[in-house]
């Protein structure tokens, strides 16, 4: 089945101009994510020793982990979700104030929660958890409300529904895990923490990535839309795999966890194969260097599942290496690739409202973008090597390089906001 052009079940950009949110809504999340991204790498450099052999539990490393998962991944997903979902579903968000409210809860909520985790201070952690539950809860409800109505892009719609269902589970479990430290809820805290991690990484963030990839990758490369059937099968495999792995984990049934990992492996290979096939038919030959990040992220997706399978089967895989592959190798690498493309694109749409849109290239600060891209790659490779070799100094050096790149990403984002304001003035 060979589409002759980027065939969408509906129109992705149709009416996009009219469904643009005020730039302050998505860009506050993007700026906060860029800031927490810098904080993450700095904190990892400082607490590199704790990263080796990390297996959860309160302390600096738990805070560092949540700087990445909540501060970078979740906040960027909030900004992107609020802006891209109404464009993809062709259904405007009902109101703007709940989105603003969620930002006021979640953006500071990350700092409070991370401080509580880092200091192992239960009350601070609980306050941060409440802010995050409310902020992310509003986000999930708003997106589910938008997704209730018929979408022109069912592949994106069903992935997003799955992601939001996973998010509701994640925030419920996360809150219970915080409460568990003072009010014993779980017989085995560690196991439930791992289930929380799996559902957050592969369920909430993972399904969002799988779903939005179906339209973003074809849009950037002028490729045909992947066959909807593959997306549906992939979604089914991913959900089945995640459910089996999580259920097997909390029920202490290794075979179920392994079976879940195999389903997940099939889903990830299908995802990568489908998008790669679409990409091979692209009209635009030059992809740009951000696709180096996309390709690396695609490699990390099945690799992370294989590491998870190895862990489930009792092989000597350092758990921190598994976390690294999922969070830094796959999710963060994919996210920053899309961030580098979508932020200038959105800025050009805002700056061009009511007049000729400026060129995306005139809004893109190339130096800071490239600095971030190459530092990110070195930092990911270096931290992985450090975790595998249990060499904390290597992790620290790599994290310093990551911090330099993160400063580049922050400068990139700030510069785009400045140029967008000048363009819109």
């Amino acid at each position: 089945m060979t589409p002759t052009r980027p065939v969408l079940g509906g129109s992705f950009l149709g009416g996009a101009h009219g469904r643009l949110l005020p730039p302050t809504i998505p860009f506050r999340f993007f700026l906060a994510a860029a800031l927490y991204h810098l904080a993450f790498w700095i904190a990892l450099a400082v607490f590199a020793e704790d990263a080796i052999g990390f297996r959860g539990g309160p302390g600096p490393m738990l805070g560092v982990l949540h700087l990445l998962t909540l501060g970078v991944l979740a906040l960027a997903a909030m900004g992107a979700g609020y802006q891209l979902l109404p464009v993809a579903t062709a259904v405007p968000m009902r109101a703007r104030w709940p989105m603003t409210l969620s930002s006021w809860l979640a953006i500071p909520g990350v700092a409070v929660l991370v401080a509580g985790m880092g200091l192992a201070h239960h009350e601070t952690m609980a306050a941060g958890a409440i802010l995050m539950v409310l902020g992310l809860g509003i986000y999930a409800v708003l997106l589910l409300d938008n997704l209730r109505r018929k979408s022109s892009l069912p592949a994106v719609q069903w992935h997003a529904i799955g992601a939001m269902a996973a998010l509701l589970l994640v925030i419920g479990l996360g809150f219970a895990l915080v409460a568990d430290q003072h009010h014993a809820i779980f017989a085995d805290h560690f196991t439930w923490a791992v289930a929380h991690f799996l559902i957050a990484a592969y369920g909430f963030m993972g399904l969002l990535v799988l779903g939005f990839s179906q339209v973003l990758i074809p849009m950037f490369t002028l490729s045909p839309m992947p066959p909807a059937g593959n997306a549906t099968i992939g979604l089914g495999l991913a959900i089945a795999g995640l459910a089996l792995a999580a259920y097997g984990l909390v029920g202490d049934q290794t075979r179920l966890v392994a079976a879940g990992a195999l389903f997940g492996l099939a889903a990830s290979l299908l995802h990568v194969q489908t998008l790669a096939a679409s990409l091979r038919q692209r009209m635009r030959k030059a992809l740009g260097d951000t696709f180096i990040l996309v390709f690396i992220a695609w490699g990390f997706l099945p690799f992370s599942v294989l590491l998870g399978l190895g862990l489930a089967l009792g092989h000597a895989v350092p758990p921190a290496l598994f976390g690294w592959a999922v969070l830094l190798g796959w999710l963060a690498t994919f996210l920053v690739a899309i961030f580098q493309r979508i932020v200038p694109f959105l800025a050009s749409m805002h700056a061009g409202r009511g007049k000729r849109p400026p060129l995306v290239s005139t809004l893109t600060p190339e130096r800071s973008r490239k600095l971030h891209l190459w530092c990110h790659l070195v930092a990911v490779a270096g931290t992985g090597a450090g975790l595998a070799l249990e060499a904390s100094s290597l992790v620290a050096v790599a994290a310093v390089i990551g911090a330099v790149g993160a400063a580049g990403l922050l400068a990139f984002t700030l510069d785009i906001v400045r140029r967008m304001r000048e363009g819109a003035a």
């Binding site: 052009r5 149709g14 101009h17 849009m219 002028l222 009209m283 635009r284 000729r356 849109p357 995306v360």
Partner: protein, 165 residues
């Protein structure tokens, strides 16, 4: 899956042809820096002729048809917003295309002795504006037309567009 509508297929074919030319132009630019020596060679004049012809004739024909016949359908279908955006982009592209066609014709006759840097700059702008525009048409305009056009209108429009060739 083949496209259902003749009209959208014809517009898409134009995009494929334009992108083929843009890919060639991009290759020329990436092999020859704006600050370096200007390119020369036996195939260059032919390429510049194709480029100028595409800019002067095909782009105008394509844009005029879209603005005259297709965009009003979007307005009738309740989505005039995207038509306004695409029309704005047409204006920007026409402006650059006119200057780039003049630069290509001048270079074809006299070589790039004087105008290589300007040609390079105009080409970069043209490529970016066209790619971004085609992206929007492929992702928004064509799927919307697939929904809006009935068989009779599609036959009439595709015939009308064929006659402009």
């Amino acid at each position: 899956m083949q496209e259902g509508r003749q009209t959208t297929r014809m517009i898409h074919d134009d995009h494929v042809a334009s992108i083929g030319l843009l890919n060639e132009l991009e290759t020329l630019l990436s092999r020859n820096r704006s600050s370096g020596p200007a390119p020369s060679g036996p195939g260059l004049a032919n390429f510049l002729r194709s480029l100028a012809s595409n800019l002067e004739r095909d782009v105008t024909r394509h844009f005029d048809f879209e603005q005259g016949r297709l965009f009003p359908l979007l307005g009738d279908g309740g989505d005039s917003d995207i038509a306004l955006l695409l029309t704005d982009e047409h204006d920007g592209i026409r402006d650059v295309a006119t200057r780039l066609a003049a630069a290509a014709n001048a270079a074809r006759e006299n070589g790039f002795a004087q105008g290589w840097k300007e040609f390079h700059q105009l080409s970069r702008e043209y490529i970016e504006r066209q790619i971004s525009h085609i992206q929007k048409e492929e992702m928004a305009l064509l799927p919307m037309l697939e929904d809006l056009l009935d068989e009779e209108t599609d036959a009439e429009l595709s015939q009308a567009y064929a006659e402009t060739r």
